[in-house]
Symmetry: C2
Subunit: 118 residues, 2 copies
DNA sequence: CCCATTGTACGAGGAGAGTCGTAGTACCAG
DNA sequence: CTGGTACTACGACTCTCCTCGTACAATGGG
């Protein structure tokens, strides 16, 4: 069961599944930048490095947003070399709040389409 | 189509359906007090006055939270005499974001049950 | 070993949010 | 008109949040 990619020494604190709070998830997703990150993560691939996102903010701010997402339990982050891989915690969220993530992603997609998207 | 209850002179500003933003809705619901209000509104009746809620904050703060909910498009408020009736904007939210409100309410209910509720 | 790449830590500035208290407004019942 | 009820407005306080810049740490390649 050794993973194909060694998860590097640096560890990142994640909340356990039972510790994820709905309020924190909603707060995390109420920021446009973070909602955008989550949408990209849900759409394209399941594993993207931070630098693969082209956000209109500095690297410091990007780090901050990824941390909020991780600490609220929305995403999972692991190091792989100097890069950091980000993935949605679909399994945990679907178990805790069935249908919520899909409803949120659907709502975000609808709004994007409605407002003449990007 | 005249309503049974005259909506009194005082008018309250509400966002039109198209003006409701997902981020604002999520932000509104990310506060425990407001999530609690919305859950009560969804469960019991569709029309409750502000004073029918027994929240552990002062009246000023209660007013503030109801205003945030109204201005984000989550609830509708109309005066009836000195009282103010509050109702969920189910129709508008379901039209804009199908399934979202139910998913949110379900998630909130699940979390309450899981955490040994009140 | 040096260096480029990737991301972090820390501090700061500015804006916003939750809470309260006090004073005030709008409405209804006498 | 008087009084009571229901809610509001405003200012203040405290915290948190988003953003940035600069300086730093961890990894992998030559």
């Amino acid at each position: 069961m050794t993973p194909a990619i060694a998860p590097s020494s640096r560890a990142l604190p994640h909340p356990a599944r039972e510790e994820i709070r709905l309020e924190s998830v909603l707060h995390a997703l109420s920021d446009p930048m973070r909602l955008r990150i989550v949408r990209e993560l849900a759409g394209d691939a399941d594993e993207l490095t931070c630098s693969q996102f082209d956000l209109p903010v500095t690297k410091s701010t990007t780090t901050h947003h990824f941390r909020v997402l991780r600490e609220s339990g929305v995403i999972r982050q692991i190091y792989r070399g100097t890069a950091k891989l980000n993935g949605l915690r679909r399994d945990d969220l679907d178990d805790l709040f069935p249908g919520l993530l899909d409803a949120l992603l659907g709502a975000a997609a609808r709004q994007s389409a409605r407002l003449g998207e990007g």
